[in-house]
C-alpha cells in the first residue's frame, strides 16, 4: 500500500462506521416503534 | 398602500430604537475586537479587513432578522397583514425594505469609519461601503425567508442562523472580494456586478418564498 495504508483503511473504516451506524440507528428506531404501535400491523406479525 | 407598511415599520423601529442601535453596536464591537485578537500590525490588519468587516456585517444583519416578524406574530398584526387586499409579496418587500433602511444602511455608512481602524485607503473604504450597500439588502431578503420559516418556534434565533448562513456564502465571497480587489488595485466591477446580480435574483425570488413561508407558519 506504499505507506498510505492508514489513510486508505482509515477512510473505509469511517465509511463502515457511518453507514453501519446509520443502519443500526435506524433499526433501533424501528425497535422503539414496535413497542407502542396501536394501529399498523405489518403482515408478518 | 406600500408606503404605509414601510412607514409603519420605520415608526416602530424609531419607537423601539434600542434594538436598532444594538445591531449597530454589535457590528461596531465585533469589528473592533479583531485587532485585539490579531495584533496591531497594520499590513496584517489591512489584509484581514474586508473579511472581518463583511463577516461582522453579515452577523449583525442576521441578528436584526429576529425582530422582522416576531413582534407582529405575537400581537396578531401579522395575521392582519396577510389579510390586506394588497399582494403579500409587496407587504414582505415593504417590511424588508424598512428593516434594511434601519439595519443595512447604517452598517454600510459606518463601515468606512471602522475601515480606518484597519488602515484601509480611501478607495477601499468607498468600495467597502458600496459593496455593503449592495450586499445588505440581499442579506435582509434571504434572511427574511429564514425569519418567516422559524416563526414561533422554540430556539428561533439560533435556528435562523443555521438556515440562513449557508445561503449567505455567495454574498460574503463577492462582497469581501470586491474590497480585496480595490486594495490590490485590480478591477472592482467584476465582484460588484456579481453582487448586483445576486441582489436582482433575491429581489425576485426571496419575497415570494417569504410570503409562502409566512402562509405556512401562520396556518
Amino acid at each position: 500500500m506504499g505507506g498510505y495504508a492508514f489513510y486508505v483503511w482509515g477512510s473505509y473504516l469511517v465509511t463502515l462506521l457511518l453507514m453501519g451506524g446509520e443502519v443500526l440507528l435506524l433499526l433501533r428506531r424501528g425497535k422503539l416503534l414496535r413497542y407502542q404501535r396501536p394501529g399498523i400491523q405489518t403482515p408478518r406479525e | 398602500m406600500f408606503r404605509w407598511i414601510v412607514l409603519r415599520d420605520l415608526t416602530l423601529a424609531w419607537k423601539g430604537r434600542v434594538d436598532v442601535l444594538s445591531t449597530l453596536f454589535f457590528f461596531l464591537i465585533a469589528v473592533s475586537l479583531f485587532p485585539l485578537g490579531i495584533g496591531p500590525e497594520t499590513n496584517l490588519l489591512r489584509l484581514v479587513a474586508p473579511g472581518v468587516v463583511w463577516v461582522a456585517a453579515l452577523l449583525a444583519s442576521m441578528l436584526a432578522l429576529g425582530r422582522l416578524f416576531a413582534n407582529d406574530y405575537q400581537d396578531g398584526t401579522l395575521e392582519q397583514l396577510l389579510l390586506t387586499p394588497q399582494p403579500l409579496y409587496l407587504v414582505v418587500l415593504g417590511k424588508v425594505l424598512a428593516l434594511w433602511l434601519v439595519s443595512g444602511v447604517p452598517l454600510a455608512l459606518l463601515s468606512p469609519v471602522l475601515g480606518i481602524q484597519f488602515g484601509l485607503s480611501g478607495k477601499a473604504l468607498l468600495v467597502m461601503a458600496v459593496s455593503l450597500l449592495l450586499g445588505t439588502p440581499v442579506l435582509a431578503l434571504v434572511g427574511s425567508i429564514g425569519a418567516a420559516l422559524t416563526l414561533g418556534l422554540r430556539g428561533g434565533g439560533l435556528l435562523i442562523s443555521i438556515l440562513v448562513l449557508p445561503l449567505y456564502v455567495p454574498v460574503l465571497i463577492f462582497g469581501a472580494a470586491a474590497v480585496d480587489a480595490s486594495m490590490v488595485g485590480s478591477g472592482v466591477q467584476g465582484s460588484l456586478s456579481l453582487l448586483g446580480a445576486l441582489l436582482a435574483l433575491s429581489l425576485v425570488f426571496a419575497p415570494w418564498a417569504t410570503a409562502a413561508a409566512l402562509r405556512i407558519s401562520l396556518e
Binding site: - | R8, T11, L12, K15, D75, T77, E79, P85, V91
Partner: protein
C-alpha cells in the same frame, strides 16, 4: 353570498371536523359554537383563507376564495383572539395604519371620531400598551367601522368586554346586517339579535 360545500379541516394529525355545509345570503348571521378545541377558530380561519381546507371549497360570490386571492380580502374583516394592535402605537395611529393598508386612508380627525364612537374618546393618543384589555378590544372593533366590508369574521369578540361594550358590539352587528352584510361569529354568549336569517353551527356533534 358566502357558501361552503363539504368543508373538512385537519390540524396537525387531528381531524377537527368534516363535511360542514352552509350558505349565507346577505344580511345573515352565522354563529359557530362548540367546546374548546373543537375547531371553531380553525373554521373561521378557513373562511378567511388563512388556513387551507383539507377537503371542500368556500365560495364568495360564487368564486372559490383560493382563486380570488387578494380581492377576497377587500370584502373581509377579521378579528381574531389577538387584537392585532401594535403596543407602541396609539389607537389612532393603529387605526390609520390598518385603514391605510386596507386602501381607505383616514385623516387624524376621522380616526379619532371613529374611536370616539367605540367609547375610546380621550384615550386615542395614549400608546396602546397603557390601555386595558377591554379598551384594546374596542380599538380592534373600531377597525370594523373604518372600511365598509360586507363580510365580518369575529372570533370570541365578546370576551373581556364590559356590558356597555357588548351593547356596542350588538348595535354594530345589527347595523352591519341591516346593510346587507354577513357576520360569522364564534362565541358562547347569547347574541339574541333580531335578524331574519340566523344559522347556528355546533361543532361539538
Amino acid at each position: 353570498m358566502l357558501e361552503a360545500t363539504d368543508l373538512g379541516c385537519v390540524r396537525g394529525d387531528r381531524r377537527l371536523f368534516s363535511d360542514v355545509n352552509f350558505r349565507l345570503s346577505p344580511g345573515s348571521l352565522f354563529q359557530v359554537q362548540g367546546p374548546n378545541g373543537s375547531g371553531k377558530t380553525s373554521l373561521l380561519r378557513l373562511i378567511c383563507g388563512l388556513l387551507a381546507p383539507a377537503e371542500g371549497h368556500i365560495r364568495w360570490q360564487g368564486a372559490n376564495i383560493c382563486s380570488l386571492g387578494e380581492d377576497y380580502f377587500t370584502s373581509l374583516s377579521y378579528i381574531g383572539h389577538r387584537n392585532g394592535l401594535k403596543e407602541e402605537l396609539t389607537p389612532t395611529e393603529n387605526l390609520r395604519v390598518t385603514s391605510g393598508l386596507a386602501g381607505s386612508q383616514l385623516s387624524q380627525q376621522e380616526a379619532s371620531s371613529i374611536l370616539g364612537k367605540t367609547g375610546l374618546s380621550g384615550r386615542e393618543h395614549l400608546p396602546a400598551r397603557l390601555l386595558s384589555e377591554g379598551q384594546r378590544r374596542r380599538t380592534a372593533l373600531a377597525r370594523l367601522l373604518t372600511c365598509r366590508t360586507p363580510l365580518w369574521v369575529l372570533d370570541e369578540v365578546l370576551t373581556s368586554l364590559d356590558s356597555s361594550a357588548i351593547r356596542l358590539v350588538r348595535s354594530l352587528i345589527e347595523e352591519h346586517l341591516n346593510r346587507g352584510g354577513i357576520a360569522v361569529i364564534a362565541t358562547h354568549h347569547e347574541l339574541d339579535l333580531s335578524t331574519d336569517s340566523f344559522q347556528r353551527l355546533d361543532l361539538a356533534l
